[in-house]
């Protein structure tokens, strides 16, 4: 075990030891306007997010997790980001990325980044749930415009990027998980380049700051 794994920033520690906005009451009692649940215990992390919506903004957010320090720390940070200053609009909240959260946290050790990607996923699920409950299905964005790399299996560049964020570090593992390039095989070279590119982006520094992608 590499000692540098434990190089958590003070912000991460603060949010891990004193997480904000945890749902402590019964789910029914909270009466959320949208609920998102992602992950699986087999992978070692699960995230459940509950939102309350007012004037198309996130009026309140509560969460629960089965996860490690990075998962707890980053979701706690996310909960603060979307509820501060009167609450984030649903459109902005939808666009929240792990990089923005990681940046706010002052970075994460590279091999812990994959633990931090569930929060924003769960948030989008919760928003989606809210749209469905309120008859606003049309607001659910269609599949992203990310370019398709593996045409046989319809796997996009963004899918590859997310796989890397979740811990994939080489093409072989990517292929085992997604089956990309196992049909006609013509995307293999492009996919290899993309894996290397994203591994380089997320895992080369001791602490990934998330800064490059902040907009």
């Amino acid at each position: 075990m590499d000692g540098s794994n434990w190089n958590y920033s003070d912000k991460v520690k603060e949010h891990f030891f004193h997480p904000k906005n945890i749902l402590e009451i019964d789910e029914k009692e909270y009466n959320a306007d949208g609920v998102g649940f992602v992950g699986s215990p087999a992978c070692g992390d699960m995230m459940k997010i509950f939102i309350k919506v007012k004037d198309d903004k996130i009026a309140d957010l509560k969460w629960q997790t089965f996860g490690c320090a990075s998962a707890i720390g980053s979701t706690s940070m996310l909960s603060v980001m979307v509820t501060e200053n009167g609450g984030m609009s649903l459109d902005d909240a939808w666009k929240l990325t792990p990089e923005m959260i990681i940046n706010k946290l002052g970075g994460l050790p590279p091999n812990k980044i994959h633990c931090s990607v569930l929060g924003d996923k769960a948030l989008r699920e919760a928003i989606k749930d809210h749209y469905k409950r309120t008859g606003q299905e049309d607001r659910i964005p269609k599949d992203s415009k990310s370019r398709v790399i593996c045409e046989c299996l319809n796997i996009t560049e963004d899918d590859i990027r997310m796989e890397v964020l979740e811990g994939v570090k080489d093409f072989k593992t990517l292929q085992e998980r997604t089956k990309l390039g196992t049909m006609c095989g013509k995307c293999v070279d492009t996919a290899k380049t993309l894996v290397d590119f994203y591994v380089g982006r997320y895992y080369t520094e001791e602490i990934y700051s998330g800064k490059e992608e902040e907009k």
Binding site: G44, A69, I72, C115
Partner: protein, 385 residues
């Protein structure tokens, strides 16, 4: 600080520390013929003799190495033929699915070179059935390598029975005894293994020293490190004199303390488990409770993740380890816990407490309190109820 990670490594015993300090000026090369060299040689051989006595074998059967990983590599890489570098490596090796990585990764290297590997599966309690080992033996089986005590769950394997089976079939037998030496009595006149590995830093000696026991009449092995004639030409390189002297002292201390430690630590481990189990529900003991080494308690706390537990206990000044994937940065949780035929989440929520000679009753009381607080908090924030 409450250190409950003694299966990872141990603090240096105060007597060992003294011995090292006294030996710091003994700089001679034990291979030198002159007085300065000879006096170091004498202390080295005294260490070897004391270790041999402790294990009830001959001094000439002890090869000093940099640790158990090196000892495991040395034995296994020469198991199938002359050495790992041989082009004509062939044959079959039997091992288990819960071995230390220094065994599993070494055999997997051999597996890429025309060597067949059988991984004997443990039962749900983490114990190997000797009959499974016997059934796996083939005419071309070159080595059986089964660990004595598992480092994560502490299960004690029926090594004597397995070694007897190996002998009956004339197959060389190796055991990685890192977690066993100094904890349970090992008598190499009664335990018919041909090779045994151990490491100093698990028994209050420093890191970087270990031994490979090679029985006199065991099959020849090829040294992993070739060069000079040190260690009977089995391990080249000027000896780690301070390490060997320290290991000798650590073994002498084991001899004195082993029984007393066993009694005291058993009581503390049981107190820890009873304390936790009586105050928390949905806690699972991993590994056969009746066939476990006395200093290890491996518990799974359902519905919460190990790294979170570990770091919150760390905040309380309590040092433990976990089988959760998040602790290693990999995507897979501990293969030892998953080998118990449990869901992966049991592995993700596992914590190993490993006690040592310095553990006190007060440490255990504080640990129980901190564990209960930590688990209660983390379960409160868990979406799985």
């Amino acid at each position: 600080m409450i250190y409950l990670d003694n299966s990872a490594t141990t603090p240096i015993h105060p007597e060992v520390k003294k011995t090292i300090i006294d030996a710091l000026d003994l700089f001679g090369n034990p291979s030198s013929m002159h007085t300065t060299g000879r006096e170091v040689r004498a202390i080295l051989e005294k260490s070897r003799k004391d270790i041999a006595d402790f294990l009830n074998c001959e001094s000439s059967e002890i090869i000093f190495t940099a640790g158990a990983s090196e000892a495991n590599n040395t034995v296994l890489k020469s198991a199938t033929n002359c050495c790992a570098f041989c082009e004509n490596n062939r044959g079959h090796i039997i091992t288990s699915n819960i071995e230390h990585p220094s065994v599993l990764n070494t055999v997997s290297c051999l597996g890429k070179k025309n060597v067949d590997i059988s991984h004997i599966k443990v039962n749900k309690l983490g114990i190997i059935d000797p009959a499974d080992v016997e059934a796996a033996i083939r005419p071309d089986t070159m080595m059986i390598s089964i660990m004595y005590i598992n480092n994560e769950i502490g299960t004690i394997q029926p090594i004597k029975e397995i070694a007897e089976i190996a002998r009956k079939h004339n197959v060389p037998m190796h055991t990685d005894a890192v977690q066993a030496v100094g904890k349970i009595p090992i008598d190499l006149q009664k335990l018919p293994v041909d090779f045994l590995s151990m490491s100093g830093h698990k028994i209050y000696a420093p890191k970087g020293i270990g031994i490979l026991f090679k029985r006199k009449n065991a099959k020849n092995i090829c040294p992993l490190i070739v060069g000079g004639h040190q260690e009977n030409s089995m391990r080249a390189g000027t000896e780690n004199t301070l390490g060997i002297i320290a290991l000798g002292e650590a073994i002498r201390q084991c001899k004195i303390e082993m029984l007393e430690n066993k009694e005291r630590i058993t009581a503390l481990r049981n107190k820890l488990e009873q304390g936790i189990l009586s105050k928390l529900d949905k806690v699972r003991i991993n590994g056969d409770p009746n066939k476990r080494v006395y200093n290890i308690s491996n518990l799974s706390f359902t519905n919460i993740e190990g790294e979170s537990i570990l770091l919150r206990l760390d905040m309380h000044g309590i040092m433990v380890s976990t089988g959760s994937a998040c602790s290693t940065g990999s995507l897979e949780p501990s293969y030892v816990i998953t080998s118990l035929d449990v869901d992966p989440e049991i592995a993700h929520s596992s914590i190993r407490f490993s006690l040592g000679r310095e553990t006190t009753e007060e440490d255990i009381d504080k640990t129980i309190e901190a564990v209960v607080e930590t688990i209660t908090f983390l379960r409160k924030i868990s979406p799985i109820k």
